[in-house]
Amino acid sequence: MNSGIKKLSRYRRHRYAGPALLVVALISLGTTFQVASALPSTTRMETTAQSTLIEEGKRIFAQGCSSCHGLNAEGGSIAPSLIGVGAASVDFQVGTGRMPMADMSQQAMRKKPVYNAEQTAALAAYVASLAPGPDSVNEAQLTYERDGNTAQGGQLFRTNCAMCHNFAGQGGALTQGKYAPTLMGVDAKYIYEAMITGPQSMPVFSDKTITPEEKLSIIKWIKAAEKEPNLGGASLGRVGPVTEGLLVWSLGLGLLIGIAVWLTAKAK
């Protein structure tokens, strides 16, 4: 008999052979899935020095967006019209990677952006040229550290945002598989633009009903919540009693029953 096979068969009945095999299978399955589901990288576009921003945007649009949104951004059966959505919408959707949409499921997901900052600006300029709409927000406007009030932002957040995005901005479920995404790790610019453009299921929060100062306060509160350490220990997701209940049954009772088994076992 081959000595290699003999060695392997020696460990076949080892106490930990089963669990070890399970761990190996799980790791290979997980890694394979991760690799297979990674998005393919896209080729970079080139801008020529001569193109104006709008022309460049039109060119990129024709290549990457018109198949769903129509050659003149008029929309169609599978995508809405972009006429009048404004530069802010484009900056938000393209900047957060939601557009172009990877799969036509219920909702565009935040993901790694396909277009870089110049390309996004070009697209935004093009769409803005079609009809008037909300302008992109620039960094200079986002003076929330100075002009925002955290406590007031929290009040505004709980009245206007928490019902979809959860009390700590962790996100929440909508109907039919749609969801309000987490607000953690989102650029202040995109939060602001989302409020003024109302992307997908999100409604619009007009500047008269929530003033720009109030919007800055909301952003300040979100940033504070993001940076706030969990005072009581590990946060369990900041989603409330569901994860707390899971922990008590698994770790809490589990540990206690394990100790009870040890306690009543006969000593050797």
């Binding site: 929440g172 598989g177 009772l253």
Partner: protein, 530 residues
């Protein structure tokens, strides 16, 4: 040692002079308790109760139950200058400005969750082993009372801080009260001192949570333990164990050490959870405002099943003669839970009616040896689990890429389909486990070792069980089905009639078992082999 003995002796004399307790103490210090890990689940509940009393008392030294409006001036910046109730503000104060305050709040809440989880686990152990049979029916009833009151106590407890999440729960409770026919709006206005939310509800539930219910708990737990003490604990079947004895260890010193030690362990694990796992971070929820709500609002798990039931209710209300009855609230909120808890409370009596069993039981059943009861228990658990899933359907949907609508429909249909399915599957599993036991006793344990016989046949070596193992697997009683004859010896029709027939039918279903092997059979087999 001599000095200690002398002092001990003096103390004992002092007490005995005044109470005559020597004989009683001696008897009870040597009381025997059987040892099994599943008997410690009740201890987890008892010790959690003590931890709740201790940590709760600590919290009451700082908590202000008043609902009067205050402007927050404490150290938590994101709520500075926000208007809130004094109860919320004092909870923030405990969390941020009292050293050890947050730790104690967390220990208190984790202890409450362990208290409820332990009660449910203990209830399941008592149910599946048949420990509720005569003479322990009263203890079962007290236990059902305790678990019901525990749910209320926990709900009131986490509602005290008057935060957005728990305030929403109170709103829902108020809607249930308001939905009661005829008296609903009156009871709601009495409970809340006017329109919701008012200013008196939190102070009132504070009294219930801190005084009334703990008092009732103390009384019920005392009676519960006294009954266990007096009736002696049940034990699992095994060699040397009969219906007429208790085999185990004496209270002093072994049980004192083990049970006392387990108290410290439960306290330690609870404190560990309080130290490392954040629970109920009310400063993130914000103060309660009826115009605000958070996505993913749920009650604590022991009420999650109720929430799930309410979510899946069909939208039925009747309007007649100028009045409304909200069946969509009353049925899932009151009627179904009422039926469930009533059936649970009455189960010992239902089972003894089904079996006609009036004898005392001190030996526990292995769950497989009572397939019908085990299947009923599994069915009830599956019911609770299905509706519990619906209670968390929004959290499940966002984390597992499902839709709340899918989960709602799955549970609406599942709640009708899954329990009967679970019943049938569980009963079959129990019966086949009994069959496996029977095979083991008669033919020995399969060792997995193969032996090749001289003429080429492969056989698996079976190892005969020891006498102790054989006894343990066959010790259980297997009563016959009740027979209710339709006519007696003289041809007179049985007046019990239909009721008797139903009872006999249930009894038949209940005693479906695989016959345990007997020594006679084993001997017959043996002689056959030779």
């Amino acid at each position: 040692m001599k000095k200690a003995e002398r002092i001990g002796g003096n103390v004992a004399s002092y007490v005995d002079d005044r109470t005559g307790a020597a004989k009683w103490l001696r008897k009870n210090l040597t009381k025997v308790f059987p040892d099994h890990w599943s008997f410690m689940l009740g201890e987890i509940v008892l010790y959690s109760f003590i931890i709740l009393l201790l940590s709760g008392t600590f919290l009451t030294f700082w908590f202000d139950p008043s609902q009067r409006d205050v402007i927050y001036q404490g150290s938590y910046e994101p709520l500075k200058n926000i208007e809130m109730s004094a109860s919320y503000a004092s909870t923030l104060h405990i969390s941020f400005d009292v050293r050890g305050g947050l730790l104690m709040r967390q220990i208190h809440h984790w202890a409450a969750l362990i208290f409820m989880a332990g009660m449910i686990a203990h209830l399941m152990r008592v149910f599946f082993t048949g420990a509720f049979r005569k003479p322990r029916e009263a203890n079962w009833l007290i236990g059902v009372g305790l678990v019901t009151l525990g749910i209320v106590e926990g709900f009131l407890g986490y509602s005290l801080p008057d935060d957005l999440l728990s305030g929403t729960g109170i709103r829902i409770a108020e809607a249930i009260i308001q939905a009661l026919p005829v008296v609903g709006s009156y009871l709601a206005f009495f409970a809340f001192g006017g329109a919701f939310p008012g200013h008196v509800f939190i102070p009132r539930i504070f009294t219930v949570h801190v005084l009334l219910l703990p008092g009732i708990f103390l009384a019920l737990i005392t009676i519960h333990l006294m009954l266990v003490w007096y009736q002696k604990h049940t034990q699992y079947p095994g060699p040397g164990r009969t219906e007429k004895n208790v085999v185990g260890y004496p209270l002093m010193p072994i049980y004192m050490a083990k049970a006392g030690g387990f108290f410290f362990i439960v306290f330690g694990i609870t404190a560990l959870l309080g130290a490392v796992a954040s629970i109920n971070p009310i400063w993130l929820y914000g103060p309660y405002n009826p115009g605000q709500i958070s996505a993913g609002s749920q009650p604590d798990f022991y009420m999650g099943w109720l929430d799930g039931l309410v979510r899946m209710a069909p939208p039925i209300e009747t309007h007649a003669f100028g009045h409304t009855i909200s069946w969509n609230i009353l049925i899932p909120g009151l009627i179904i839970p009422g039926i469930l808890f009533t059936l649970m409370a009455l189960y010992p009596f239902i089972e003894s009616w089904m079996t006609g069993d009036k004898s005392e039981h001190h030996l526990l059943d292995r769950p497989r040896n009572n397939p019908n009861r085990t299947a009923i228990g599994a069915m009830s658990l599956s019911f609770i689990l299905v509706i519990l899933i619906n209670g968390g359907n929004d959290i499940i949907a966002t984390h597992f890429y499902l839709t709340i609508n899918q989960i709602m429909w799955f549970t609406r249909i599942g709640v009708l389909v899954i329990p009967p399915l679970t019943f049938v599957i569980t009963k079959r599993i129990c019966l086949s486990l009994q069959r496996a036991d029977r095979e083991k006793v008669l033919h020995g344990r399969e060792t997995g070792r193969l032996v090749m016989l001289p003429h080429g046949e492969f056989v698996e070596v079976h190892e005969e069980l020891t006498a102790a193992q054989k006894f343990t697997l066959t010790q259980h009683e297997q009563p016959a089905a009740l027979e209710v004859p339709s006519v007696d010896a003289n041809g007179v029709l049985n007046p019990q009639g239909l009721k008797g027939k139903i009872r006999a039918r249930f009894s038949q279903a209940h005693v479906e078992q695989v016959a345990a092997p007997t020594e006679t059979e084993a001997k017959a087999l043996e002689s056959g082999h030779h």
